[in-house]
């Protein structure tokens, strides 16, 4: 334990009107069983939670934040993990070693939890109304009709639009943000004293995240619920926390108020963590200004459209089309990075896949001058040497049963570019190129960390000497410190090899760091495009402005201006057969900065 400024030791002992802590965690130690005996994964965590307080547990993956929450909820996976020392006092009662039946009474009524993924934490075959009333009736002695009206009240409280209708709907009929509102409503149903929110906004779009954080803060203020918020996002911490505990590898690194943490972090780790956080607006305009050289165009996309048919009815005929991408045009020059930004469902990943010829499309894609549409598999091979992809989840994009060396060698074998000793040398060189030791070649993907795996994926993408790399959210699954290293590697490779990137991301701060030009997508269409500094610095389109205003700022002193909630429902990309959405016409604002005329 390093530098624990423990308020619990100052407060209760002291003075006048200090309230009694709701929850106290003392010296909590958890071990997990491994073949070589118990391994300590949480080491002497201690904190106290006051009523009406928002405490953030912040840290990178593997720091033990979720484990702490699970221990408080009595949800530790048994028998793999067990508490070996410490106490968890809820209103003076120790929860460690409490029988499951007693724990069940506490859950929802005293302590409630919100999980990361709102889709998987709701039951897909029960209506929203049933799921809320289920919790109410399990813990309170009320009639079905009373429970239903209470459920309606709860939905109103979490500011759900047309709540009466929602009660009868199923989870899949709601958007991610609405689902998370339902999850919050369920968590708050029995008015718990403590609400634990485990990365409640990580799976959500940034504008939805802003709304949900706002909602949690409002509800917390009104009901006086104490909140333990688990997050890896320092922006979220700055936005919502009163106090912060920084954790790393199961240890409590630092405990302080949020202002103190950001103003003068007391440990090197926190300083490094804060330094690694990409900040929107931190890139000076001059540095980000694109170098307008007359370089060759690597990719040209003209009027690209991708539609997915929705079939139904008796004869399984196409009834509607999802217009995932609608007449999008752009080009990327050699050595340039174009970022595609937009929220989920905006079509950014679909464009990436079309570029890789992984799905059928309309319009024209020219890679290095060659049109890729309608090419046979054999002729596509040549094109595929020029464009490679890095996926979001490095673990999912590597074959778990093959050594990473074999996987990096695979593209070279497929294209018969090298064999024997030459192949080995080439693979070794690629590993060195991405900063991995040569002996890593013989290991399997599960033996690496997330950042190393992404390096393997980059090595594999580089194997064919591509001109363009499509990076689809390639750092989103990584911790910020690792993220910074991977971005640095990508930048280096670009400088040395003259690579072009199509950088697909939802993270505006990262986009600002890496991109020369930005295209903002909304419902499958480009609504704004231009040099990064212009689009992110002086956004013209209402949607871009909204997107930027929702980004949490990792600085409690400069909270972003209150987020303007959109009054519109999301534009649907489903259209009847034969019809198309209204085309967004772009208007030039000079210096290659274009935006759609109509407000989004």
């Amino acid at each position: 334990m390093i530098a624990t400024i423990d308020t619990e030791q100052i407060n209760p002992a002291g003075s006048n009107d200090s309230p009694v802590p709701l929850l106290q965690v003392k010296d909590l130690t958890i071990q997990v069983a491994t073949p070589d005996g118990g391994k300590t994964v949480l080491d002497g965590i201690g904190f106290s939670l006051m009523p009406n307080e928002v405490l953030c547990l912040a840290g990178e993956s593997g720091s033990g934040k979720s484990l702490t929450a699970m221990a408080i909820m009595g949800l530790l996976p048994k028998p793999a993990a067990r508490i070996t020392a410490g106490q968890i006092l809820l209103g003076g009662k120790d929860l460690v070693g409490l029988a499951e039946a007693d724990f069940r009474k506490l859950r929802a009524t005293r302590v409630a939890m919100i999980f990361q993924e709102p889709m998987t934490s709701l039951n897909p075959v029960m209506t929203i109304g049933e799921q809320i009333t289920e919790v109410l009736r399990a813990h309170q002695d009320i009639t079905a009709s009373a429970a239903e009206s209470a459920a309606l009240e709860l939905l109103k409280e979490v500011r759900m639009t047309s709540p009466e209708r929602r009660l009868k709907q199923y989870p899949h009929e709601l958007s991610g943000g609405m689902r998370q509102r339902v999850v919050i409503a369920i968590a708050l149903a029995c008015q718990p004293d403590v609400l634990i929110a485990d990365e409640p906004t990580t799976a959500l779009d940034v504008t939805v995240q802003a709304e949900i954080l706002d909602l949690i803060a409002k509800l917390q203020e009104r009901a006086g619920t104490a909140v333990i918020m688990i997050t890896h996002d320092m922006g979220v911490v700055a936005e919502i926390a009163d106090r912060v505990i920084v954790m790393r590898a199961g240890k409590q690194m630092e405990t302080s108020t949020v202002r103190q943490l950001f103003a003068s972090p007391s440990t090197d780790y926190t300083r490094a963590l804060l330094a690694a956080v990409p900040r929107l607006g931190s890139v000076s305009a001059s540095a980000a200004a694109p170098v307008r050289e007359n370089k060759a165009t690597v990719v040209e996309v003209n009027e690209l459209s991708v539609r997915f048919p929705v079939r139904g009815g008796l004869l399984n005929r196409v009834q509607q089309n999802v217009h995932a991408v609608e007449k999008v045009s752009f080009s990327i020059n050699a050595g340039e990075t174009l970022a595609l930004v937009g929220e989920s469902g905006s079509g950014k990943s679909t464009i990436g896949k079309a570029l890789m010829s992984l799905l059928p499309f309309e319009g024209e894609i020219r890679i290095n001058g060659r049109a890729t549409r309608g090419l046979s598999r054999r002729s596509l091979r040549g094109v595929r040497r020029d464009v490679q992809m890095i996926f979001q989840d490095p673990y999912a994009s590597l074959d778990p049963r093959m050594t990473v060396g074999d996987q990096v060698a695979e593209p070279l074998l497929v294209h018969a570019l090298a064999s024997g000793q030459e192949l080995t040398d080439r693979v070794e060189w690629l590993f060195k190129r991405v900063g991995l030791p040569a002996d890593a070649m013989r290991r399997h993907p599960h033996e690496f960390s997330g950042g190393q795996r992404q390096r393997v994926c980059i090595a594999r993408a580089l194997a064919l000497n591509p001109k363009l790399i499509v990076a689809d959210e390639c750092v989103s699954a990584l911790d910020v410190s690792v993220q910074a290293q991977v971005l640095e590697l990508l930048r280096e490779l670009q400088e040395e090899e003259g690579l072009s990137y199509l950088f697909i991301s939802h993270d505006m701060a990262v986009v600002e760091q890496v991109s020369d030009r930005v295209a903002v997508l909304y419902a499958g269409q480009v609504v704004e495009t231009g040099p990064a500094s212009a689009v992110l610095g002086k956004p013209r389109h209402a949607y871009t402005q909204r997107l930027l205003s929702a980004v949490p700022i990792p600085d409690p002193e400069h909270k972003r201006s209150p987020f303007v909630r959109s009054t519109q429902e999301l534009v649907s990309v489903m259209h009847a057969v034969g019809t198309s959405p209204e085309r967004q016409l772009l208007q030039n604002h000079g210096d290659d900065h274009w935006s759609a005329r109509a407000a989004g």
């Binding site: 073949p35 890789m356 010829s357 992984l358 598999r377 596509l380 091979r381 595929r384 040497r385 490679q388 992809m389 996926f391 979001q392 989840d393 999912a396 994009s397 590597l398 074959d399 778990p400 049963r401 093959m402 050594t403 060396g405 074999d406 990096v408 060698a409 695979e410 593209p411 497929v414 294209h415 024997g420 000793q421 192949l423 080995t424 693979v427 070649m441 013989r442 399997h444 599960h446 994926c457 594999r460 194997a463 064919l464």
Partner: protein, 295 residues
């Protein structure tokens, strides 16, 4: 040392040796060895002629003799030595269990993988055909097929394979579909790998565990299906013994001579268990992500 050698090296550190090192699979291998030994040397090691019906093979009342010093496993309803019949029956059952079941596994996997990977029309045609085969009464189909061809052990094996591949195809199809959606398969396609390479190197290895589990479970099913066919007169022709038809012939004596059903039943169970133990261990040994988790 090339990158390619990496795999061959880890794989070739004696899969067989690793199988022997695990108690479960060593036991399984021993059982399989015993069954194979019985099947190969049957005519030399049987204590009696399996088809001989000696005068003293039945009691005075004409009931089968319970296991004793002369007949270790007793005699069947015709007074034939059960142990001799069991040893000879190992031939039939091993061929049915391994060949018929292996064929159906191969057929089912091929159909399932092709349908799952290529999707679209290929999947529709293949899977609707699978559904059709599933809906068709398996026994009726087997009888028809067996009636068309001259009944022999090999024909019976083929017939059983033709009937049994559908379940495997279903399971493999579903798994291949979800596997095909995974990023690493997409990554392979986007670097220009052709379907054969993707299927053999990246899809099949992941299906191994389901295939192993499903085909070892199939062993007892196929052995019993053969017995059913024999019972209906379209399978292995009497008096050739098989473990399945020993059970069927003697089932009416179940209450008075339970060993006649119990002993061949245990034999079938042990064969399925043996293959299951080996298959299970094989799956773990070939899965690099499990390395080091088993002693």
């Amino acid at each position: 040392m090339s990158a390619q050698d990496g795999v061959t090296q880890t794989r070739s550190t004696g899969v067989f040796a690793q199988l022997l090192r695990r108690p479960g699979s060593a036991f399984g291998l021993a059982l399989i060895a015993l069954i194979v030994f019985c099947a190969l040397t049957a005519s030399h090691i049987t204590p009696y002629d399996p088809n001989d019906q000696p005068f003293d093979g039945l009691t005075i009342e004409g009931a089968p003799i319970a296991p004793n010093a002369d007949h270790w496993m007793g005699t069947d309803l015709l007074g034939r030595d059960l142990m001799s019949r069991l040893i000879v029956g190992a031939q039939t059952s091993l061929i049915i269990g391994v060949v018929a079941n292996g064929l159906s596994a191969i057929l089912g996997t091929a159909v399932g993988v092709a349908a799952g990977y290529f999707g679209g029309l290929t999947a529709t045609v293949l899977m609707r055909f699978t559904d059709l085969m599933m809906a068709f009464p398996a026994l009726l189909l087997a009888i028809v097929l067996a009636a068309i061809f001259e009944p022999s052990l090999w024909i019976v094996a083929m017939v059983i394979a033709m009937v049994n591949w559908v379940q495997m195809a279903r399971v493999v199809y579903t798994e291949t579909r979800s596997l095909t959606e995974r990023d690493f398969i997409q990554a392979q396609v986007s670097m220009g790998s052709g379907p054969v390479r993707v299927l053999l190197r990246h899809v099949l290895p992941h299906l191994l565990s389901s295939i192993v589990v499903f085909s070892t479970l199939g062993i007892s099913t196929t052995v019993l299906l053969e017995a059913t066919l024999s019972y209906l007169g379209v399978g292995v022709q009497p008096p050739t013994p098989s473990w399945g038809n020993i059970i069927f012939e003697n089932q009416t004596y179940f209450s008075s001579a339970p060993w006649l059903v119990f002993i061949p039943g245990v034999a079938i169970l042990l064969m399925a268990l043996a293959f299951n133990l080996v298959g299970d261990a094989l799956r773990d040994i070939l899965d690099p992500t499990l390395k080091g988790r088993h002693g």
